[in-house]
Homo-oligomer: 490 residues x 4
């Protein structure tokens, strides 16, 4: 496995997408399609587990894209049956930089009452302590993944059926998670009490004979022609079988929801519906808010492709400044590319992006991007734009400064690598060398996301820890490793 | 090799991209980057030949993307030296549907005065006759490619040096072609007398020690930081060496240039400069012309991604109707995908495109696309848009009706498969089932391409055979196979 | 993974070879060499685990030959450190006929006091019961291998150090086993109380700085230049560290040893020393005994290559009949071969063996083979010999009739597939269609193996269950599945 | 492609095996089997070309063993039809040490009257001159193989049918060659006028509907159940079609045959019949002659496996000294193995061979080997035998000293690397450090090969240039490169 491309590392990355289907023939085919639609949530590896009444559980786990691994008849024929779940993941490996295939989900466990497979999106913040305890009691871990704790907790539960064992297990788990799981006959979906990560329910097929779908996002319902039913609620567990339909349980103490606001800004696909709102519309509205909060005289509004596009459209519309494609993305950019010589390594971001010189030359350009993480890519883009003869370069960022790492299932650099953790907005502007730099305000972001009154600071409507440093669940493992929470002074 | 994706077959496809570099260390690395930037001109296979004074000629030819094949140090170290050329190709194989690796260019020939390699973009319209003649005289063909004729003609030339042999060879060849070739010390570029296919010259590196670049498009100069010098002129051959620089020859009888107008509409990348004009600007201007020629009351202008985007921006700007992303492209779509069941096969284009339902619902939508070939994809897109609740669907097409196949290096279906060959505009509208359908006029297209007076019908400024049926070079091989030219009556 | 070749299935197959090294730089390299020398004990897959003080535990597991998998620097560099163990295995999978990579040993477990890896040769006869019990208590099994029970039993032991936990675990295990295991600093070897499977101890390197080796056979000491020290004794556990050397423990109740006599006949390599005796010499002596027990007038003694060769040499020497290579083995036979048409399928064993016609023609031929299992190959060889013009064909078999399956780590067909389970010697002769057929007597075999007085029937010196049906350890799992032990009447 | 194993390089290597079949369904399957039986003649790569009336010519060429490449239905189904030829080759590449796939035969050429494919065993001694001439006239070579000259000479012939063109071509060619070729309907076999390399004719299938086979050796007839008909005679060309059967032509001036005597000593398989004599019997007889020419008192005769075995059997029989397997070969040795550290590299030949210590200890051992080339392996074997405690080591070599390179299709080191080119027999004995060393005399070898009167020095019955330095065809290309023929003084 080659390392992820260096020019992609200047983004936050969602770590996982999950998908499950019950009640259609060859369910694994639908899962493959769903995972393909969720590929933006994890490009490193994917896995599918299926169950067939005659052939039992089967699984396949592979590194690489869904389209390359789960497309051949050879593979798909090994995954028969009307029930299947799947998972795509992004590498979050540390110094070694590489995931082993045994870390690729779904995880499977054989219990005395039968097998179960689970796929997990999120992060368990007390995984280290749980793991120590389980090993002490004689569990053998096969992966380095935190998610494996869940299956061991289930194995040790004294409950008689698997959904009840999963309730037992998830009550021991802290953090943010959405889970899709399966037994021989049931499809199960769970969201943590805060509902940080998304999970939706859909139906597929003709009414008289329809099946059920669980998915991280609605865009993956569309690809298989499934109908959106509703979101799984924060703190809800749904246990679905062909016979009894959807049974809703509430295993956790109720809390006020804190959905991840960065899903709105960047992670989710623009054609998904989150919390009843179009992601595309929220992003376009962020552009509108930005144009109001931070207007500037200019000749052209350009998105940094592709994630800045909806906000740029909103900014251009609100400001009346023409919209244009000043930066062209290479469609054939994969995860890797040649960098054999110093000479070539320096050309960096050009492998992925090229400036539309004829359009840029002589113009005052507003560049709209979704976020600034390390700032490395932003600097290179600015240089390309100036090299192409722009008269002025103004950055407008569709999120507040990202000053804190996320511990809830998002791959973020250490805090000291985040530009906004060490610099003020003005310092960042000087560091990037642009004529102006403005981030949307936290209130503006909340307004764009539909909270007309802005952020409720005493009880925020979203998890915005990456901007605010206010962590709704204590990141116990990270504190053990030395992470310092925000102090009163900050 | 998997077959190309069925949902891509509703486009015309450029068949090749060519690139060459002389005078920089490890030239093959630059060629790999250049080919990566030209990948849109051919995704099936690629090849590079390099020459090093000590290690002689070396070559590597592979199926698949440049980024997957020419990125490892393992491969690139086998291609040393300061001189290299490369080629990317799109499959145009017939019934067998598959190219052999021996058909992948560049082709290499060893002559008594040394070796030469050539890479060819275009099509030789008298290849069948040439091939028969050469075999009769004792040449052994190794590939099924028409381009191999050139190397055999060179081998039989009585000239003493390789560039002169190439002149001899190309004077026997009819059709449309741009060629990049190399000897042990020289980089050679040629365009046919009409200049149908593009080829540009660039410089790379510091002035005191700069190297030379030949490329199908300027966007591939940008990726390696090369400076655009000029286009190779129609009918020109340039012979470049480190010692003597660029020598210009004129091997062919002079003709009036007929550059391919479809390069402006679709083939070339929007960030390239063709004939002194920005491709992006031409396309945006097509949208402006379309809005003038075929206005319609509507709520939203949506591009069919990604090729319809610049024209949609121009249409929105000119018409004042808001621009929005009504269709979202899956970024992880490769050349292949699973279609194991009838059930899934029917979902078709959804694998690649999804409708942004929240944006579309209830709106009168103008869809801007670059062209209509068979019409199969257009129908599916229309259905998706209506399923999402659009009130009206209006198609605006950024090219005239494509009614004739191209025989100059473009992969087109047989004439009877072209929707516009058998239907009028109104029939097509009914076939597609949309509220209105309008193509830009041929004159409008010429105006957008900078010809203020429109098309000079007595002596057209471009090759527009795919729209007009007027072929500037007789397609001899195809006529032999039964193709009927346009009659006076048509 | 292709299935094993059909023409190899007429042999019993040893299931595993194990090897471990402590105290030399890059121990994994030595393990790879040792496994290569033990490849005859298992060709399907191999694995190595190593430990390095700085880089911790690392492992690699692959299908196929050692020489193809553990030869590249790429792989071997991922297995650093002075301590490593390895395993080769033969597939014993049931109806699915295929092993998953997760079934490939060594198995690894992380305990609270650190990790351990184990490699196991043999078979656990109470594995089903153990597995049920462990799952009931919350263990998650990752493989379908019986050997995984050991690591889970270790995980649940209350002992404070790993060797003591292994003692605990192995006391729960019934069956025949030799085990090589490792912790971060210790190399561990164990043989079951009967000592059914072999295990030897060696030293490597200069005396002042020597390391330790554990191996299934002595031939694997030779390949790395290690010196044979002694056999691990039946019922012995050795715990070896660099600091304290070899510590010997006795975890099991003492029993009279019953070493597997088939190791002498076929499994072990002829250049190994087992129980102080040369395997080659034992086999040659079997030929001598056979010549005495079952003489016949003939012109030529031919081995069935390669396993019949030493006995054929002994038979020829004792009988005075010339020895010759009447059957030639194809050296390039792998595990698989083409059988696309009925026509070709019928040629069967010819792919592997060919008759030396010029030598055979007109002669009375004695064929010496090691064993008869199903008899299918023997019939084909007889036909080839007769086709080549032999006057007479006499089979002499270097083992008694194989009438019972082995449950101690050997892959044997079900009892009803064993020719000798359903036919008398005369019936087998007629079935094979040869002029005579004689097996060595059980007493003759014991004499050849050094027991001058033959078999001690009240207390046999070896495990010979495959010949006698007397199982020294009750095959509990198989009895549960319906296997019938020998009755008093048989 | 990994380099050949260093411990194999102390042998001469036959460069090629050829095989062809006409008149059976799916002829390519039979060719694959035949090539498998000829694998000892070339292990680096193999290729098959087939012709089917409907699907025309098809080909597949691969690096590696036949069993690994031409076994899957996937490949074999691409090679339909009743006519096919194939080729296996040993790498003879020079400094680069690697063959390109385009050098793998059969070669194919399309002529005006249809296509033809040829496979060639041997060496063209005037290839350089031919190649220069053909390039000068405009032929494009695609490989670095000398054999490609034949197809270009055919392309330029003025004859009207392909067999006649092949006659034209082969009359221009000097050297030693056997050729198998095919047109759309004909199978063709040719041997050069001296008949240096072997080629035999066989029939396959029932008499009323039989097909034809051409093969380098008879052992490959056996594997497909074909009947040996006769050898193709030196200087003969056979043109075979289903309609007309075998037509024999004599394209070359007649000469006295000089079959390669090393085929008898080492190259051919022992179960083949060459010139009416069993190869096994000739080799056994060499052992008998050696025992008479160079007797020595000893306790054991051991073959160096596997090529020394027949001569060792003959030596033991004639001398009355017991025969035994003192050296055991690892059956799983492939072409490559790990040599990551100096430490391991030194163990050398142990990877492939191990001494049977128990047998050797204290004995006076006669080692019988087929030849001594560089002497490197012989030294290592001697050391292993002495380390194992042998009292004396006597080498007996089943061929005369190899003092000259072969230029007729055999891979030999440069002359100065041949031990016998620079040392006398006594010097070699001292170099190897053995108690005695004796080679069979040239006369003894001829007697064993059936020439009762020994070698006819005025007109030798065989080509024995590697021993005698008397080259029956002038090695023109090598003389051009500086090779010195034997002088009168030598």
């Amino acid at each position: 496995m080659p390392p992820a491309h260096p020019f992609d590392d200047d983004k936050l990355h969602e770590e996982c997408g999950i998908f499950g289907v019950l009640g259609v023939q060859d369910a694994a085919n639908f899962v493959a399609l769903g995972l393909h639609a969720l590929q933006h949530r994890g490009q490193e590896a994917g896995g599918i587990v299926s169950h067939d009444p005659e052939q039992g559980f089967n699984s396949a786990r592979r590194f690489g894209y869904v389209r390359d691994n789960f497309t051949s008849t050879d593979i798909m024929e090994t995954l028969p049956g009307p029930l299947a779940i799947g998972h795509v993941r992004y590498s979050t490996a540390g110094s070694k930089g590489q995931t082993a295939i045994r870390d690729v989900q779904p995880f499977f466990g054989e219990f005395s009452m039968g097998g179960a497979a689970i796929a997990h999106n999120g992060n368990i913040t007390n995984a280290n302590a749980l793991r120590r305890e389980l090993i002490e009691r004689g569990s053998i871990f096969q992966s380095s993944s935190d998610s494996e704790c869940i299956i061991h907790l289930m194995a040790r539960s004294l409950q008689r059926d698997i959904p009840a064992r999963m309730e037992d297990a998830l009550r021991r788990v802290e953090g943010a998670f959405s889970v899709v799981a399966m037994t021989r006959t049931k499809l199960i979906g769970v969201r943590d009490a805060l509902g940080v990560r998304p999970l939706v329910l859909g139906r597929i097929g003709p009414e008289e004979n329809s099946g059920w779908v669980l998915s991280s996002e609605t865009c993956a319902l569309d690809i298989i022609g499934a109908e959106f039913v509703r979101e799984i609620e924060p703190g809800e567990m749904v246990v679905i079988s062909q016979e009894t339909g959807v049974e809703s349980r509430r295993p956790f103490r109720q809390k006020k929801p804190r959905f991840c606001i960065f899903e709105q800004v960047y992670f989710s696909r623009p054609d998904s519906i989150l919390g009843g709102r179009s992601v595309y519309e929220t992003r376009r509205q962020i552009g509108v808010e930005l144009a109001r909060e931070a207007p500037v005289e200019a000749d052209l509004v350009c998105p940094v492709p592709d994630s800045g596009t909806p906000a740029a459209i909103g900014f251009a519309h609100e400001s009346g400044i023409p919209y244009g494609m000043g930066i062209i993305r290479n469609q054939y950019m994969g995860r890797t590319f040649i960098e054999p010589t110093e000479q070539i390594r320096n050309m960096g971001v050009r492998l992925k992006l090229n400036v539309n010189r004829a359009l840029i030359r002589g113009k005052r350009v507003i560049l709209v991007d979704d976020s600034v993480v390390r700032g490395t890519t932003s600097r290179k883009i600015k240089e390309m734009i100036l090299d192409a003869g722009a008269a002025e370069v103004h950055f407008r960022i569709a999120s507040p400064p990202t000053a804190w790492p996320c511990f809830y299932g998002v791959d973020t650099p250490q805090r000291e690598k985040l530009l906004a953790a060490t610099m003020s907005e003005d310092e960042m502007r000087d560091f990037l060398g642009v004529d102006s730099l403005k981030f949307i305000s936290l209130d503006g972001l909340y307004r764009a996301a539909g909270e007309a009154g802005g952020r409720n600071n005493s009880c925020p409507q979203y998890c915005d820890a990456c901007f605010s440093g206010e962590y709704p669940v204590e990141p116990a493992d990270m504190i053990e490793k030395g992470f310092k929470l925000k102090t009163a002074a900050e």
